[in-house]
Amino acid sequence: MKIYFESLAMHLKGELEYRVNFILSFLSQILVFFTYYFIILALFTKFDHIKGFTLYEVLLCFSIIQFGFSFNEVFARGVDRFDNLIIRGDFDRLLLRPRSIILQVLCSDSDFVKSSRLIQAIIVMIVALVHLHVEWNIWKVITLILMLFSSCVIFFGIFLAAAAYCFFTVQGLEVRNVFTDGGKHMAQYPIGVFQKGFVWFFTFIIPYAFVNYYPLLFFLGRKESILYAFSPLLVILFLIPCVLIFYWGMKRYASVGS
């Protein structure tokens, strides 16, 4: 873990070398983020609610997903941009070091410019919470924390599985964006608003529903069962196949070469 924080500090040091670039990128990220935000606002000028979810409920959902996604963009950039490691051949170097490969991939890159999105996600979440009139209790605090946590976990898993794809080919990387960016855009809305097939898919295959739907129902007081509050923990299971896929791809890479 120490190595990870040290690398993080070094990346920050490196990024701050280019000061103007850092500031401009940071600001441009704010604009990008607000386009997403305005789309949702625009939608709600036409409709009062989407399948029973009001504007601020959707915004809460949106901010939680954005939080997890941005968190990984900042702190797990190496996994997100894993194709760079393969293309530049730097992955070979990782294999020459006596440490876990996933840890080293995590250390290999970070992008502090994206932390502007992280901050905005938190702001939107606070705005949503203020307008929602939630009846707070300890369980709801835990639920909210678990939702944020599982949001980080699920995107880490997806990034990792997408990274494994690079072991096979570095061409056609757009395919993986269907699962990262595409998934993110869908999951900005409570999964329950979609068709049954989608709900099934996002419950059992890529478990977005455990991040922003089942716990949300509990949080908003629509479900009483405490199981809903702890359902985000199931997302950890999702990591297992993702890690396995990554190591499987790595084995193949080592026996196929570059």
Partner: protein, 326 residues
């Protein structure tokens, strides 16, 4: 048992077959044809502790593939490889602590920050004890003359300065085995000399085993007593450099400065050309020794000056490649 034992290693790559032209590109988009390229085939050799071995061969001969297999990056299709009783690709974490690898064409230093920061990070990656780390670092800084460059962001360093930092970075954990893949590529004469001297010293003092690949034959001649020649994936020659030189060095060149006219005919003289100042002769030393040549000439003409040259190692290598048709 030797330090490094490589037995019948083979490795085949599957490469997508591509022809030129848009039509072919579209065709290959829908239906890919693959061809198997044998990168290395049946490679065997053993290396003792403390040896410096030059691993040479033309581009695409399989040098990098072998280095990658030996360092545990690639898994061979078949064959065995034991280094210090470990198999590189099976005991990865334990094994890589004992080796250092320098890729001349790739950097392991962080581009935007000073080399010393990278060193500090490597210390934690390799879990080097603080005292040992400080001692090794001081030693490397002194030997490679890094005092003034270690605190400058790497991107501002010259290639020679950067390479010296690269080598230091690969040696912080005191590896027993060092792979150098074209360590002097693109360096000027002085930097090359610094790198060579350093490697020689390292080998002498710490008994570090070195496997070196390079296209600069001067690297090889000044460092390695033994070479392994590889071509088209096979080991073609494994032995002393001296023997190879003796075998191929059958011609010597003599330049004579004179005002007289030289009439000389001998089977041992392969070529005679008139130059501005005298004559150039090419001599087959298997037939005619240099002293015989001098004897004959000095009787016939007055020699103002004379220069004797032997075949360059590069020419020997060209001949060698021609002989093996690689």
């Amino acid at each position: 048992m030797s330090f490094i034992e490589v037995k019948q290693i083979s490795k085949t790559f599957r490469v997508a077959k591509k022809k030129s032209g848009l039509k072919e590109s579209i065709k290959s988009f829908f239906k890919r044809e693959f061809i198997d390229v044998k990168a290395v085939e049946d490679i065997s050799f053993s290396i003792d502790r403390g040896e410096i071995v030059g691993y040479i061969g033309p581009n695409g001969a399989g040098k990098s593939t072998t280095i990658k297999i030996l360092s545990g990056i690639l898994i061979p299709d078949s064959g065995e490889c034991k280094i210090d009783s470990m198999t590189p690709w099976k005991d990865r974490v334990k094994y890589v602590k004992k080796i250092g690898v320098v890729f001349g064409q790739r950097s392991q230093l962080w581009w935007d920050i000073p080399a010393e920061d990278t060193f500090d990070l490597l210390k934690d990656i390799y879990e080097i004890p603080e005292e040992e780390y400080q001692a090794t670092k001081e030693d490397l800084i002194r030997r490679l003359n890094l005092q003034d460059i270690i605190n400058i962001p790497v991107r501002q360093l010259s290639l020679g300065q950067r390479m010296r930092c690269e080598i230091a970075a690969s040696l912080l954990h005191n590896p027993e085995l060092l792979f150098l893949d074209e360590p002097t590529i693109g360096l000027d004469a002085v930097s090359k000399q610094v790198v060579r001297d350093f490697i020689k010293q390292l080998n002498r003092e710490k008994q570090t085993t070195v496997i070196l690949t390079s296209h600069d034959m001067n690297d090889i001649t000044s460092l390695a007593k033994r070479i392994i020649l590889i071509g088209k994936g096979h080991v073609l020659y494994d032995g002393s450099l001296k023997k190879l030189q003796n075998h191929y060095e059958t011609e010597k060149y003599v330049s004579i400065k004179t005002n007289d006219k030289l009439n000389i005919r001998n089977k041992g003289i392969l070529k005679k050309t008139k130059t501005k100042e005298g004559y150039d002769l090419t001599i087959d030393t298997r037939i005619l020794s240099i002293s015989q040549v001098l004897n004959i000439i000095s009787k016939k003409i007055h020699i103002e000056d004379i220069e004797i040259d032997h075949e360059s190692i590069d020419n020997i290598i060209v001949k060698l490649y021609e002989d093996y048709k690689i």
